[in-house]
Amino acid sequence: MSNNEIFSILEKDAKLTPEQIAAMTGSSAAEVSQVIKQAEKDRAIVKYKTLINWDKVGNEHVWALVEVKITPQREVGFDAIAERIYKFDEARTVYLMSGTYDLAVIVTGRTMQEVAEFVTRKIAPIEGVTGTVSHFVLRRYKEDGEIFDSKEEGKRQAVIL
């Protein structure tokens, strides 16, 4: 059993217990717990979260992908500005990108107005930010490898020899 095997299993289903993972990998629960504990300590395992389809819950959120152009700063490059942005709770995801813009920021809010205000009041005025373009998300089909509403209908026969 490699540690990566444990992480791959957990990445797909964080609810599995060390006992279950041990049974799947042919190791002991104590070994698995040890690996997990160490990984949590090293922040190799960052967090256990739940993927929720908010549309189903009736609690609608607005999502936007915001492209941010930056003039890199001496010594710290893009990192200082990225940090200023990722510290806001509204910035759900922040990536440094290659290509025509520099940071991709996924922003969530309750309304379009809220998202727009966040961008104009918090991101655009940061020194070094030279421009932003906001794209509002119309529908989330798939996230982190999971399809929200799968239309697959595969059904097996009960017995096949």
Binding site: E5, S8, I9, D13, L16, Q20, A23, M24, T25, G26, E152, G154, R156, Q157, A158, V159, I160, L161
Partner: protein, 396 residues
């Protein structure tokens, strides 16, 4: 007035003697019971629980949109045969000429049938280890040959014993039909044993038909292709397919690889009965061979996790279960319950709504075992184990 009776047909069935020689399935009752029930956890399936990877489906859809709906060459699309040839070369270092040593078939089932019909004359014997896939003896009988059963045992990890195999050889022996990784036992045959069997085949001038449909589904061991053993390519018909490795069971696409004259003989039957494998399925198979290995490997590690978890669960219940290193079946020994396989399967289904296939469906020496397919979700496997545990505790 007298009526004239027809002379010959009074008691003569319309169905052929050959077909009548195939024993009816002994587990009809079990199937009927299963059909009448809801909410059953089925460990009785013999196929992946994945749907075909999207890139494969998409390639087939695209080809339909482009109107690729005509017959292909009898042998199968040249591109597919070329790609398959490359694939076999890469995996096993075996070179098959795509022009005349490969035939694309409707699943391994057709390839097996063709192999028998192309090589077996009435009275020829085909040796096979059992428990084995249900079609093995039937395909021999349909070719008017005689299946010769060589039992394998749990104590021997369900590996066919070369000495037993050799002692079953008679002047009528024509071929050995090998099926590893095995359905129903999940056994794989170690390379040393394969070498011994290859030696026997050469000494007695026997053909080997090797059904390697589960070749990609092996765990912690490497699959050895029979035809890759020294001196075996010229006397082996390799039967393979896409169903299990690429979750493509419903596409019905397989192949045979073998000596030119045998493939030519098989093609003769194929062209008169099937014409060619379905074009869209061939397109899909081509995409399967061209895609990278990641999704196959991902599926294999997923099966492996479920395999380890399920076999451990069976052992924790107190059922002896040898470690299956291939396919997606476990073959636990249920003798501690004192029931025979059929009773066990029927009662388990009736009392706990878990379907497993009686070992006797795969030959008499499957008595005392049931076949459980672990290609089902982890929560279902866990629930099945809880129920089997309750059942076994109650009856042992």
């Amino acid at each position: 007035m007298t009526t004239i009776k027809p002379v010959t047909t009074e008691n003569k069935p319309f169905t052929s003697q050959r077909v009548n020689n195939i024993a009816p399935s002994g587990i009809r009752k079990f199937f009927d019971l299963l059909a009448s029930m809801n909410d059953v956890i089925s460990l009785g399936v013999g196929e992946p629980d994945y749907t075909t990877p999207w890139n494969i489906r998409e390639a087939a859809i695209y080809s339909l949109e482009r109107g690729r709906t005509m017959y292909t060459s009898n042998l199968g699309m040249p591109e597919l045969r070329k790609e398959l040839s490359r694939h076999l070369e890469q995996r096993y270092g075996l070179h098959y000429n795509p022009d005349n040593e490969l035939l694309i078939t409707v699943g391994v089932s057709e390839a097996l049938d063709l192999a028998m019909r192309a090589t077996i004359d009435p009275g020829d014997q085909v040796l096979m280890g059992t428990p084995c896939y249900v079609a093995y003896p039937a395909s021999v009988i349909l070719s008017a040959g005689e299946p010769v059963i060589v039992p394998t045992y749990e104590s021997n990890r369900f590996e066919i014993a070369p000495s037993t195999l050799e002692s079953a050889i008679t002047p009528h022996s024509k071929a050995i039909l090998s099926g590893y990784p095995s359905n129903p036992t999940g056994a794989v045959l170690p390379r040393e044993k394969m070498l011994q069997i290859a030696g026997i085949a050469r000494r007695h001038n026997l053909l080997v038909m090797s059904d390697e449909i589960y070749a990609r589904l092996v765990y912690g061991v490497e699959h050895t292709c029979f035809a890759s053993l020294p001196g075996m390519k010229e006397r082996t018909i390799l039967l393979g397919g896409f169903s299990k490795a690429y979750a493509m069971t419903g596409w019905r696409i397989g192949y045979a690889a073998g000596p030119r004259e045998i493939i030519a003989a098989m093609t003769k039957i194929h062209q008169h009965t099937i014409m060619c494998a379905p074009t869209m399925a061939q397109v899909a198979a081509l995409e399967a061979l061209r895609m990278n290995n990641d999704s196959v490997e991902e599926m294999v590690s997923d099966y492996n996790r479920r395999r380890q978890m399920f076999v451990k669960g069976l052992r924790d219940i107190g059922l002896s279960c040898f470690e299956p290193k291939g396919a997606f079946y476990a073959f636990p020994n249920i003798s501690i319950t004192g029931m025979n396989s059929e009773t066990f399967a029927e009662k388990l289904l009736a009392e706990e709504k878990v379907a497993a296939v009686p070992g006797t469906a795969f030959g008499e020496c499957g008595e005392g075992y049931v076949r459980c397919c672990y290609a089902t979700s982890v929560p279902e496997l866990e629930e099945a184990l809880v129920r089997i545990n309750r059942f076994v505790s109650k009856h042992k």
